[in-house]
Structures are given as structure tokens and as C-alpha cells.
């Protein structure tokens, strides 16, 4: 439709945000030019709204209204506030990389433990060296990805060597310690051929933080014959906003397991653009939204089968309580040459309250004939007969519900291969259920 209405009050406010941020954004003149172009792309579209098809159910103009000024570079006090949050989020044994208020915090990270197979630099360093100009570029024309490129203050740039077999996960922890400010990071992960690695990404607030906005981007490219898991745990403050874009490219014969769980934020959206660019790869992109109060959680996945012979599976579960609103949009694209594609997507929503809402838009876009693709979608309440069965055996109602909900979300969680990590995620889901009681 006509997007010419993009110039609203919020559209103008963001240009002030950009202007005032320019002085402290890393990068040379060439980088500044790339940022200016990205910002122009954003300005043409403005904050996404319901008239843009991809954002139909997540109208950021109505839900968020404006982009907040960038958070200040964290001082010692902010870093010490972040320490607690890092402790709470850390997965036992993982090598931590911590970003506080959009800036890499080496003092909170396990740099020494990274080992020779991982090379790390920060986005800031890369941009200052003028080496990372293409870090800000993507083929996408999405407004939020462009805004991220314009405003990104820092991020991690990780490269994992060919053949690296990492038995311990790498965990990137994003901590916000601020209120009423935005946190914008952009990270790049390059995973070499034959590498085997688990990456965890956690989003969490420090105790005093609130009403902040996270506008994040992750560029993940994986070589051939690799085996990668990326587990994202989004547990932001209840009044925060988190819009994360993930741009993923997968090589040949690679196995990738993506998982996302949303348990926080007033408004959140994870938009994943995943391209299967090498033959014989297998993708699992699963997710769970656990929403309550007036939380709005959106998971949007575009899986692009660009080459023949790949398999993709998407399993998504939403549990929506109170006046929560869950959105799932999944699109499977099969390009003309991508014969022998096997793509399946299943999205299910469980509505626990009469005012809860779940919107599902599972799309198929298919240009090849020898394929097997499908999707399913359901929405409904807990099965009364199952509840009755459990209650007849003496379980209190809430417990019976919790048991059924656990089983419901379990289907999306169970594909996490690492036992410890899977238990950790189940624990987080249980914690959400506990709070319900």
C-alpha cells in the first residue's frame, strides 16, 4: 500500500536521535556515509505500521510510537549493575561475551577462555579500522534492519575456524541497565566449514532498568558440513521493547538448530530471514512465546529454499495469558530450482484467557514442482477432557494446567540437542509457569 504516510511525528523524532548520535557512533567517513544511507532507507519507510504487510500484526507506530535516544556509554556503576544480571543469565560453563547498554564489556566477558578456534573483535573496532563497512550492509530493505545499521554502537564479530569442535557453548549476553533509552547492537557470527558449535544469546535487564528499547541485528553465516545450534532467550524487562532481526545464511550439508524463547518485554519481535544456500542442509527453526498481561510477542520467520535438496522444520508454540497477543508469521519460499525441498511448519497457540489473542500467518510460496511442503496452524484453549483426567487424579487445577502447558511447549524445546541446555530452557519455561500460580 501507500507508505508515503511514513513522515509522522515519530519519524521526525528519530532523525533527531540519529543526528545527536552521530558524534559518538564508531567508524570513519565512509562508514558514516553507509549509516546515512541506511538511515535514509529507514526514513522512507518510517516506523513499521500495520499497512506494511510484514508488520500487519505488529504495528510499532501504535505499540511503540517512537525510537528513544541511544543509551549512554555505560560507566562503572552501570557495569556493576550489569554484573548481577550477567550472573543470573549465565549458563554454567559457557564462555560469556557481554554487551552492556550496546557496548562490549570485556571486563565481564570470558576473553581468556575463548581459545584459538574463536577469533573475536568488536563491531566498534572493526568499524574504526574501517574494515567492517560491509558489516552495516545487507540486502534487506526492512526498516528496522536499516535503523539498526544507522545506529549500531557496537556488537561482537566472531569467527569460528573451519573444523572447530567446541564442546562448550559461547554465550552472548545483552544487558540493559538504562531506562527510556535505546540499545542498538549489531553482531556478526561466521562459522567455518565443518565446525560444531552452540551459541546462546540472552537478553536481560539489570535490576533498575526499564522501558528501554532493544533494536538488535545478528548476521549469522555458516559454512558447509557444520553443525550449529543457536539458542536465543529473550527475557527483557516487562515494559521494554525488543526488535531483533536475524539474517542467516547456511552452506551445504549443514545442520542448524535455531531456537527462540520469549518470556519478557511489553513488545517484542524476532524476525528471522534464513536462506538455505547450499544443498543437503537441514534447518530446524523452533520457538516458544510465553506471554501474559498485555505483552505482545511476534515471531516472524522467512525460510528461503534457494537450492535443491534441503529440509526445513519449524515448530512454534505460543501460550497466551491475560490480554497477551502472540503473532507468528512463517513463510516458506521454494525457489524455481529448489527441487526435492522438504519444508514443514507447525504453529500452535494456546489461549489461557478470554482476552488473549493469537494471530497466525503461515505462508507457502512455491515455484518448484517436486517438493513436499506443508504447514499447519491451530488455536484454542486447553483440552477440557485432559484437564478433567488430571483433576480426577487429584491434581489441583493450576497444576494440571501447568503440566499440560509444559507438554505443549515441550514439543518445540525438545530439539535442543545439548541435554544441559535443554533442561535450562525447560527450567526457564517452568519459572514462567510458576509465576502464573
Amino acid at each position: 500500500m501507500n507508505v508515503a504516510v511514513a513522515k509522522t511525528g515519530s519519524g521526525r523524532a528519530v532523525s533527531d536521535v540519529f543526528a545527536s548520535a552521530q558524534g559518538r557512533l564508531p567508524g570513519s567517513a565512509a562508514i558514516a556515509e553507509a549509516r546515512r544511507q541506511a538511515f535514509e532507507t529507514y526514513e522512507r519507510l518510517g516506523l513499521p505500521h500495520r499497512r506494511i504487510e510484514e508488520w500487519k500484526y505488529t504495528d510499532l507506530r501504535a505499540l511503540v510510537g517512537e525510537v528513544l535516544p541511544l543509551a549512554a556509554t555505560p560507566d562503572a556503576a552501570a557495569l556493576s549493575r550489569a554484573t548481577e544480571a550477567v550472573k543470573a543469565q549465565a549458563f554454567a560453563g559457557a564462555r560469556k561475551l557481554v554487551l552492556v547498554d550496546g557496548v562490549f564489556a570485556p571486563e565481564l566477558s570470558d576473553l581468556a577462555a575463548l581459545g584459538p578456534e574463536i577469533s573475536l573483535t568488536t563491531l566498534r573496532e572493526a568499524l574504526d579500522k574501517d574494515a567492517g563497512g560491509d558489516l552495516l550492509k545487507t540486502a534487506s530493505t526492512d526498516a528496522m534492519i536499516s535503523l539498526n545499521a544507522a545506529l549500531a554502537t557496537d556488537g561482537v564479530v566472531l569467527a569460528i575456524r573451519d573444523g572447530a569442535q567446541l564442546s562448550v557453548p559461547v554465550q552472548i549476553i545483552h544487558v540493559a541497565t538504562v531506562s527510556s533509552a535505546s540499545v542498538v547492537t549489531r553482531s556478526q557470527l561466521r562459522i567455518g566449514n565443518g565446525a560444531r558449535v552452540t551459541i546462546i544469546e540472552s537478553f536481560a535487564p539489570a535490576a533498575t532498568a526499564g522501558a528501554y528499547q532493544v533494536i538488535d541485528a545478528l548476521i549469522l553465516s555458516i559454512g558447509d558440513d557444520a553443525d550449529v545450534a543457536h539458542i536465543r532467550l529473550m527475557d527483557d524487562a516487562p515494559d521494554a521493547v525488543n526488535v531483533t532481526s536475524a539474517i542467516v545464511t547456511i552452506g551445504a550439508r549443514t545442520k542448524l538448530n535455531l531456537f527462540n524463547m520469549t518470556t519478557g518485554a511489553a513488545v517484542s519481535r524476532l524476525q528471522g530471514f534464513i536462506t538455505l544456500a547450499g544443498e543437503g542442509s537441514t534447518l530446524a527453526a523452533n520457538g516458544v512465546n510465553l506471554l501474559r498481561k498485555t505483552e505482545h510477542g511476534d515471531t516472524t520467520l522467512v525460510v528461503d529454499h534457494a537450492v535443491p535438496g534441503c529440509t526445513s522444520r519449524e515448530t512454534f508454540r505460543a501460550v497466551v495469558d491475560d490480554r497477551g497477543h502472540s503473532v507468528f508469521q512463517g513463510r516458506i519460499i521454494v525457489r524455481p530450482d529448489a527441487q526435492k525441498t522438504d519444508g514443514k511448519m507447525m504453529t500452535r497457540a494456546l489461549l489461557l484467557s478470554d482476552e488473549a489473542e493469537a494471530d497466525n500467518k503461515p505462508e507457502l510460496e512455491i515455484f518448484a514442482d517436486d517438493v513436499s511442503c506443508g504447514h499447519g496452524a491451530t488455536a484454542g484453549a486447553l483440552d477440557d477432557s485432559l484437564l478433567f483426567y488430571l483433576r480426577a487424579r487429584g491434581l489441583p487445577e493450576k497444576e494440571a494446567q501447568a503440566l499440560l502447558i509444559q507438554a505443549f511447549v515441550g514439543e518445540a524445546i525438545e530439539e535442543i540437542a545439548d541435554d544441559g541446555l535443554r533442561e535450562h530452557v525447560i527450567g526457564l519455561a517452568e519459572r514462567w509457569l510458576e509465576a502464573r500460580k
Binding site: 500500500m1 478470554d354 482476552e355 500467518k361 506443508g374 496452524a377 484454542g380
Partner: protein, 498 residues
């Protein structure tokens, strides 16, 4: 599993170049000047001897249309339409006022004969109906309203329907004879401001069918309209309004054809259905407008707004469509399930070949309590066509106990075409239960395994499953139409069951 060779061959055989209804009838016709303006709207209204309120209604729609823009969200691609380069009114030149079929231009009757439409009810009416033998059951009666370009040329069985109290007439006559009904219901389902094409239709519609079934009446026969575009450079804008009063039932069929030309012609119809308490409307379409030739030249642009309103409790509206024609189809027959316990159904087979583009589906809008809906959509894309299912299922907060089941399956034949599925599923209360499934693949392995295990060959098993599956949608059509539709499709739906 790719489509088996047999299926591919059958699709080739019904290739678009072999359009059977592509002939043109040479008759004198009367046309309004090209283009659209308030004067044209007044001209059409004047031609129809319409009352002032109707002209006002049209003009209001026209003025609103001027402020609207063509929708671009559908997955269809075509050059801009010049709305000033179309004749908005074309009618066969009347010899004098027509009072019986014999006075209709014999050329037109011949056209309908060629199309196989039984306009002549003579045998039945004059009592010379041959005695039905035991092996040959009596033919079922169908009342036909034939619309030729912009006007209705004949409506059959009027007398018999009148006996039952059913009103079935061209809408232009209904505006004059039953203004109270038309005024009450026209635009109440598809308002004049609804969308670009519906608004255009509201301004310039020239004819169409009007049906009113009084309370408690089960319409004694199938009602049918046959639409034919004949003139060059014309658009056809018909408007259909069907009202089923409390406890009544009506089944309505619609068929469409057009001559083979290398220009694109616009067809922008509006169909409104109103079902009051306990009433049921069954609306079936076999759409076979000229699809263009194998190079993608010519064909009808079919931009149609169809919507049914289950206004009363326990009412039911069922849409069945077999879409094989048109260069571009943009059509979403919908149900507004307002009455408690009302039910909406949508059964569709959409076949695209050559350069055809189909963007079709349905909307089920659950507003009342315990409303149910069912969507069965089968899309087949061949040649270089694009076939999209686009559907919305939504349950309002107050629509407690709403239920929907949706199954949409697609089959691709060849690697130059595309099949797409774009469903929107919105549940706004916890007691709504929605189930949706879509596949683009072969018949379920489990089902085949089951059959093969019991001694059937793979081919037999496929045949068995496909047969049962085709019935599923075709069964929804009245018998006469089912036969026609089957002939029209004449390809199996192998590989699309999931």
C-alpha cells in the same frame, strides 16, 4: 512426488488454446459512449428507468470511487487498466419490448444453445414433457436468468417460481418492482465504499439477478444465471442480490463465458447474500471466462467481490466454486457469521494454466456465538501460471465457541508455475478452536501405504484416494453443474491430497 505423466497429459489437453466458448455472436448492440463520468452513470440509470434514489446511490458510489485507488496487495501482475477506455454499457438492440422467449434475438438464443444453457422451458411448460421411463429419471428443472453483456435477456420459469412466492428476476426489474426489498438489502453486505472494484460496480452495474425467497419456502428448483460477455472493449458489471428469509432455502448456480479476443476485458461483479434466521443459501459458480491464449494475450480480468451475511441465528451460507477461466482472478467469497450458531462453508477448486493468475480464497468472520466454518480449497497450477490461496479466519472476542477447519492443498504441474498459500488466522478468544492445514505435495504416504498393504497397486491406490477427494468438493455442486465441472476440470487432482 512430481505429477504423474497421465495428469500432465490431461492438463495439456485442456490447454488454454482449446477454449470451447471462444466464439463471438454478431448482433446489433447498443452501447453507451466509452469512458466513465457522471453522465454515463446517469445514462445507465436512465436506460433502466431507475427511481431517483437508485441514481443517487450510484452517483454517491461513483464520487467515492474517484477518491479510491486500485488495490495492489494481491499476487497478480497486469498492466494498468485505463478505466476511460471501457464501454460501461452494452446491450443487444431490442426489436421491441420482449414478452416471450420467441421475441428474443434468435442469435442470442443460438449463443446460449451453443453454450448448452437451457433457456427454452417450452417442453416443461406446455406439458409436452416426455413421460419419464424407469431407466430415465425426469430432468430436474432449473430456472435460468441469462445475462448478455450488460443486460438480462431472459429469465425462465418465472411463473412457476411465482406460485411458490419466490422472486427471481433481473435486478433492474426488481429495483422498479420491489424497491422496498432492494433498498433494504442492496449494499447491506458489500457497502458502496467496500473496495475499489465493488465501488465501481455500485456506480455502473447494469444488471444481474435478484432473488427473494419468502419465509419458510424451500425454493422448488435450482436458480441459475449465465453470464456472457460478447461485445468488444466492454466491461461487465453485474450485481447479484439473494435474500433468503427466515427458514427458507435456495440453491443458486452461476456460469460465465466470453469470446476469445486478444484484448483484456474487465469483469467486476458484486454478489450479496443475506440469510436470515434458519435460512440456507447455497451458491455455486463455474467460472470459465476466456483465460487468454497460450502466449498470455487477452482474457478476462475477473475482479469480483462476493460476500454472504449469515444475519440470522442458525443460518448457513455455502460457497462452492470451480475456477478455470479468466486471465486474472481476484476473488474472495466470504461469510460474515453474525447470527449465533450460523455456519459458513467454502469449497473451491482453482485451476490455472498458461499465463493465468489466480489470487482467490475466502474470509470467515466469526462474530456470533458457536459459529462454525469450513474451508476446503484445492489449487492446481500448470503452465506458467501463478495460483494463490489467500484466506482469513477471524474470531471476534464475543464469538465464543467459534470453530473453523481449513484445508488447502496445492498441486504444481511443471516447474514454471507457482502455488502459494497465504492464510491469516486470528483467534481473539480462548474458546475459539481453529485448525488449519495446507500442503503442496503428494498423497499422504500413510494413506497410500494402507491401501497398498491391502493389495492395491500404487496407481490404484492413488486413483482411489483422488476419487474420494474430488468428490469432496464436487459433491457440493448441484448435480447438473457437477457434471459440467467434472468435464471442465477433466484432470485428476493426483498428488495434491495430504
Amino acid at each position: 512426488m512430481p505429477a504423474v505423466q497421465e495428469t500432465v497429459d490431461r492438463v495439456r489437453r485442456i490447454d488454454v488454446d482449446q477454449y470451447r466458448y471462444g466464439f463471438e455472436t454478431l448482433i446489433d448492440s447498443e452501447k453507451a459512449p466509452k469512458g466513465l463520468s457522471e453522465d454515463i452513470v446517469k445514462f445507465i440509470s436512465g436506460k433502466k428507468n431507475e427511481p431517483a434514489w437508485m441514481l443517487e446511490w450510484r452517483l454517491e458510489a461513483y464520487r467515492r470511487w474517484l477518491t479510491m485507488r486500485e488495490p495492489t496487495w494481491a499476487r497478480v501482475d497486469y498492466p494498468r487498466i485505463d478505466y476511460q477506455d471501457i464501454y460501461y454499457y452494452a446491450a443487444p438492440k431490442p426489436k421491441k419490448s420482449v414478452s416471450s422467449l420467441d421475441e428474443i434475438d434468435p442469435e442470442i438464443l443460438k449463443t446460449y444453445e451453443k453454450l448448452g444453457i437451457p433457456l427454452r422451458e417450452v417442453a416443461v411448460l406446455e406439458g409436452v414433457e416426455p413421460k419419464p421411463s424407469e431407466s430415465d429419471p425426469p430432468a430436474r428443472k432449473i430456472a435460468v436468468d441469462a445475462v448478455f453483456d450488460s443486460v438480462s435477456v431472459a429469465t425462465t420459469f418465472k411463473a412457476e417460481l411465482k406460485k411458490a412466492g419466490v422472486i427471481f428476476m433481473p435486478i433492474s426489474e426488481a429495483i422498479r418492482e420491489h424497491p422496498e426489498l432492494v433498498q433494504k438489502y442492496l449494499g447491506s453486505v458489500v457497502p458502496t465504499s467496500d473496495n475499489f472494484y465493488a465501488t465501481l460496480n455500485s456506480a455502473v452495474f447494469s444488471d444481474g439477478s435478484f432473488v427473494y425467497v419468502p419465509p419458510g419456502v424451500r425454493c422448488p428448483m435450482e436458480l441459475s444465471t449465465y453470464f456472457r460477455i460478447n461485445e468488444r472493449n466492454t466491461g461487465q458489471f453485474e450485481r447479484t442480490l439473494i435474500i433468503a428469509d427466515k427458514g427458507s432455502y435456495v440453491s443458486y448456480l452461476e456460469g460465465c463465458t466470453a469470446p476469445q479476443r486478444d484484448e483484456n476485458q474487465l469483469h467486476a461483479a458484486v454478489v450479496e447474500l443475506v440469510a436470515l434466521d434458519d435460512a440456507e443459501i447455497k451458491y455455486s459458480t463455474v467460472q470459465n471466462w476466456y483465460p487468454g491464449n497460450s502466449e498470455g494475450v487477452g482474457g478476462i480480468y475477473n475482479f469480483v467481490t462476493k460476500r454472504g451475511d449469515c444475519r440470522g441465528a442458525n443460518s448457513k451460507i455455502s460457497w462452492t466454486q470451480v475456477e478455470t477461466g479468466s486471465a486474472i482472478t481476484w476473488k474472495y467469497p466470504s461469510c460474515i457469521l453474525r447470527g449465533d450458531n450460523s455456519r459458513g462453508e467454502f469449497y473451491s477448486i482453482a485451476i490455472s494454466n498458461g499465463f493465468q493468475q489466480v489470487d482467490s480464497g475466502t474470509k470467515m468472520i466469526h462474530l456470533g456465538r458457536n459459529t462454525t466454518s469450513r474451508i476446503i480449497s484445492k489449487g492446481i497450477a500448470a503452465g506458467k501460471s501463478q495460483n494463490t490461496y489467500r484466506g482469513l479466519v477471524t474470531a471476534h472476542r464475543k464469538a465464543t465457541g467459534a470453530r473453523n477447519f481449513t484445508a488447502c492443498d496445492s498441486l504444481l504441474i511443471g516447474d514454471k508455475c507457482g502455488a502459494h498459500t497465504v492464510p491469516y488466522i486470528e483467534a481473539k478468544n480462548s474458546s475459539a478452536t481453529f485448525e488449519h492445514e495446507a500442503t503442496t505435495s503428494k498423497i499422504s504416504e500413510d494413506v497410500l501405504f494402507y491401501c497398498v498393504q491391502r493389495g492395491l497397486s500404487q496407481e490404484e491406490a492413488v486413483g482411489l484416494v483422488v476419487n474420494g477427494f474430488v468428490k469432496d468438493v464436487l459433491q457440493q455442486l448441484p448435480m447438473e453443474f457437477a457434471v459440467e465441472a467434472q468435464k471442465l476440470i477433466s484432470i485428476s487432482l493426483e498428488g495434491s491430497v495430504g
